[in-house]
């Protein structure tokens, strides 16, 4: 089931994507971390990006240590930043930790403290101690650091989950992968996943960077890819590569927003729409058959919006017009109907065709209802300008119905500039294609289609791809939408707004090409 949903949700998305907004140039970004409602990421050379919403980014203040490819984690009352530096000719390097009570440079509590070294390489051994990736095991609370960059192995050492410091410097680091860099570990459903970047970096659009993954039942491995090849022998299942207008993804970081919304951060070595600059990106993280899959942020287009729960589609509550015009009813289920069966059944099917019922002779309009147009000519798509002439002039209710390719069932979803966003995406306007009827939330938690669009928060929608590839649709918080509610299929023909329940399919939607 999940595989089917994933395919349905991903494949139709063929139009342009939206990179993050604002100042997004960075190389080797850390995991994106939240502090006091803001998002932060730290890159090579002291690069820092900050965002209030996860969509629009600006430059921040460099931390006390400016090194290579940092990673960051929140442990209790401290934020620990792990920063690598060459301490001689490669591969002689060391990773140091600094920590701070807050990541907000404007806070009076903002002060970096040295936490000491956590890993190093002597320039001879088969490891280059850069590219730290810190991982707090949710299964047992132990803290781990992976590190390494080509020159041999990716290694694993244990850290103190309270202080973030190395737990025991006498413990020998474990080799867990080879010939890759920028490793990071995540845990999902009883498996440990090691994500690492293969290919070459730092060559703009000529960078072969791509992120690959292996998994293990134990934090120390062995990590195998989907073919059974060990990452210690070069294995790794492709997680995300180049595509669209971006080249060379590397430096995976998990951004778990809860309630079945997971995202990942990375940088692309070259954004072709930004002159080939190295940029931050945030995308949905999906799961399919026990493997992480890189999703796509929502792409503008015109869609059928279909409920996973009911299979019915969101539509204006107006009288639909059959595409190509009406037809006489066919033979089956003719006017007479049958005796109806003992209980009409849960689906209440019609009686046998042509059997006389008590109301009169059976039979309908014969086979005419199955017939095509006499000339067999293609029937053009429905012209919304034509069929909308009988739609009410004012606001219209929103409901759901069987999708029948009609105009009131096709929604154009477009990003709205300067309206803010959320991690990875801007807010969107959702309007009937060609008609301007705009989906909006009401103050009492219901839905309405407005005649126009004014940009008020209740007309702006957040579209998050959930881990199974379906979508959650939520209005932007505002004066009329104070509670975080999601579009919910409460009945086959009815939609509303309700608190998101990750265990239910009521608030999971598919965007299908109409």
């Amino acid at each position: 089931m999940k595989s089917i949903l994933l395919a349905a949700a991903i494949l139709p998305l063929a139009s342009s994507a939206f990179a993050l907004d604002g100042q997004v140039t960075i190389h080797d970004p850390s995991t994106v971390i939240q502090c006091d409602g803001r998002y932060y990421t730290y890159g090579t050379g002291g690069g820092v990006l900050i965002s209030d919403d996860g969509w629009t980014w600006r430059r921040g203040v460099a931390p006390a240590r400016r090194g290579m490819a940092p990673d960051v984690i929140h442990l209790g009352d401290r934020y620990c930043l792990y920063v690598a530096a060459n301490i001689g000719a490669q591969p002689k390097a060391a990773i140091n930790m600094i920590w701070n009570g807050t990541l907000d440079p404007n806070s009076p509590d903002y002060k970096w403290e040295e936490g000491g070294g956590v890993a190093s390489s002597d320039g001879v051994e088969d490891c280059n101690a850069i590219d730290p990736g810190v991982f707090l095991d949710p299964a047992d609370g132990r803290l781990w650091l992976t590190y390494g960059s080509y020159f041999g192995y990716i290694r694993l050492v244990e850290l103190d989950p309270t202080t973030g410091k190395r737990l025991d410097t006498n413990d020998r680091p474990l080799d867990i992968a080879i010939n890759c860099e920028a490793s990071d570990m995540i845990y999902h459903d009883g498996w440990y996943y090691l994500l690492a970047t293969h290919g070459s970096c730092c060559r703009g659009s000529d960078s072969g960077y791509n992120i690959r993954v292996g998994r293990a039942r134990n934090v120390a491995g062995p990590f195998l890819d989907h073919t059974g090849l060990e990452m210690l022998r070069g294995g790794g299942k492709l997680f995300v590569g180049s595509g669209g207008r971006v080249v060379g993804p590397g430096h995976f970081g998990l951004l778990d927003l809860g309630e079945d919304v997971q995202k990942f951060s990375c940088h692309f070595e070259a954004d072709l729409d930004r002159g080939g600059a190295s940029v931050l990106d945030i995308r949905p993280l999906l799961w399919k058959d026990g493997w992480p899959v890189a999703g796509d942020n929502f792409k503008e287009g015109t869609y059928e919006i279909e409920s996973v729960r009911t299979g019915t589609a969101l539509e204006l509550a107006v009288e639909g017009v059959p595409v190509g015009g009406g037809r006489a009813r066919g033979f089956r289920g003719g006017a007479g109907g049958g005796p109806g069966g003992p209980g009409a059944g849960p689906s209440g099917t019609n009686g046998p065709a042509g059997v006389s019922g008590p109301g009169g002779p059976g039979g309908g309009a014969g086979f005419g209802g199955f017939g095509a147009r006499g000339d067999g000519a293609p029937i053009p798509p429905q012209d919304v300008a034509q069929v909308s002439t009988n739609w009410p002039a004012g606001n219209v209710a929103v409901r759901m119905g069987n999708y029948m390719v009609q105009a009131q069932q096709k929604w154009t979803v477009t990003p709205v500039a300067n309206a803010g966003g959320y991690p990875g995406s801007p807010y969107f306007k959702i309007s009937i294609a060609g008609a301007g009827r705009t989906l909006a939330a009401t103050e009492d938690g219901e839905l309405v289609a407005l005649l126009g669009f004014t940009g008020e928060p209740e007309q702006l929608w957040r579209l998050d791809q959930l881990t199974d590839g379906t979508w959650r649709i939520m209005p932007k918080p505002g004066p009329k939408t104070k509670e975080p509610l999601a579009l919910s299929a409460i009945g086959s023909s009815s939609a509303t707004l309700a608190k998101f329940d990750p265990d239910s399919d009521k608030q999971r939607w598919l965007f299908k090409t109409p």
Binding site: V318, A335, G336, G337, P342, A344, G348, S492, S493
Partner: protein, 232 residues
């Protein structure tokens, strides 16, 4: 309440216990009995385990065009067939005259989650195609119940009112699906509340189901259903 119960019990005592609906109370030429429907044998009835309302007053079907598009259904149900059709609280056996024909209200309990209108009409030798059914029940609430929703399914189109306010309309040639049409959040007041619906059938089988959902979309319980008197 006890007075109400006594009145209703007295009235119902004259009925045939839980016998299938048919027999003398029905029109001449009745085929009866309707296999899924019985005459109410108690004054009040709780919804079933899944919250479905199983006690209703149904008017014998009115012949109509049977057109099921939104506008046609709205036009059909907004036409006046008998006096106070959107406000009357009928009693079992009450009669109205529609187009020169005398039609009777029948109190029924359904054995299932749905009410089979085909059974109802067939047992009465009434038409089942191109017909309009008017249906009423009284929901007796021990306290005010805010934030609930009426959730219905019908074969075919139907329009629903709660305490006189239109809350659901579902249209087209459709089958009964549980929770197909769901109202916006509404408040059931303490005491009697009137749920009324009009079901229009084009052809073939016809039935409906209805329940209330609470704020968590779970079946609403804690109320009873009655027909006839409303506790006045």
């Amino acid at each position: 309440m006890n007075t109400l119960r006594n009145i209703l019990m007295s009235a119902l005592a004259a009925l045939a216990g839980s016998a299938p609906i048919a027999t003398a109370a029905l029109s001449q030429g009745a085929r009866g009995p309707a296999p899924s429907l019985t005459r109410p044998a108690t004054a009040e009835k709780a919804p079933d385990a899944d919250g479905f309302m199983q006690r209703w007053l149904i008017l014998e079907p009115i012949p109509v065009s049977g057109r099921l598009a939104d506008s046609a259904v709205q036009a059909t149900v907004k036409r006046e067939y008998f006096t106070n059709q959107l406000s009357v609280i009928p009693r079992d056996g009450d009669k109205v005259t529609v187009g020169g024909a005398e039609l009777t209200w029948h109190a029924v309990d359904t054995k299932g989650y749905n009410v089979n209108l085909y059974h109802f009409a067939y047992a009465l030798s009434r038409p089942t195609s191109d017909v309009l059914f008017w249906i009423v029940t009284i929901v007796n609430c021990p306290r005010e119940m805010p934030g609930v929703r009426l959730a219905i399914g019908s074969n075919a189109a139907s329009v629903w009112w709660v305490n006189g306010e239109e809350v659901i309309g579902i249209y087209g040639d459709r089958q009964t699906v549980i929770d197909d049409g769901v109202s916006r959040r509404l408040t059931l007041k303490k005491g009697p509340n009137v749920v009324r619906c009009a079901v229009i059938n084009g052809g073939g089988a016809t039935d409906f189901c209805a329940r209330f959902l609470d704020g968590g979309d779970k079946p609403l319980k804690g109320f009873t259903l009655s027909v006839g008197e409303t506790g006045k």
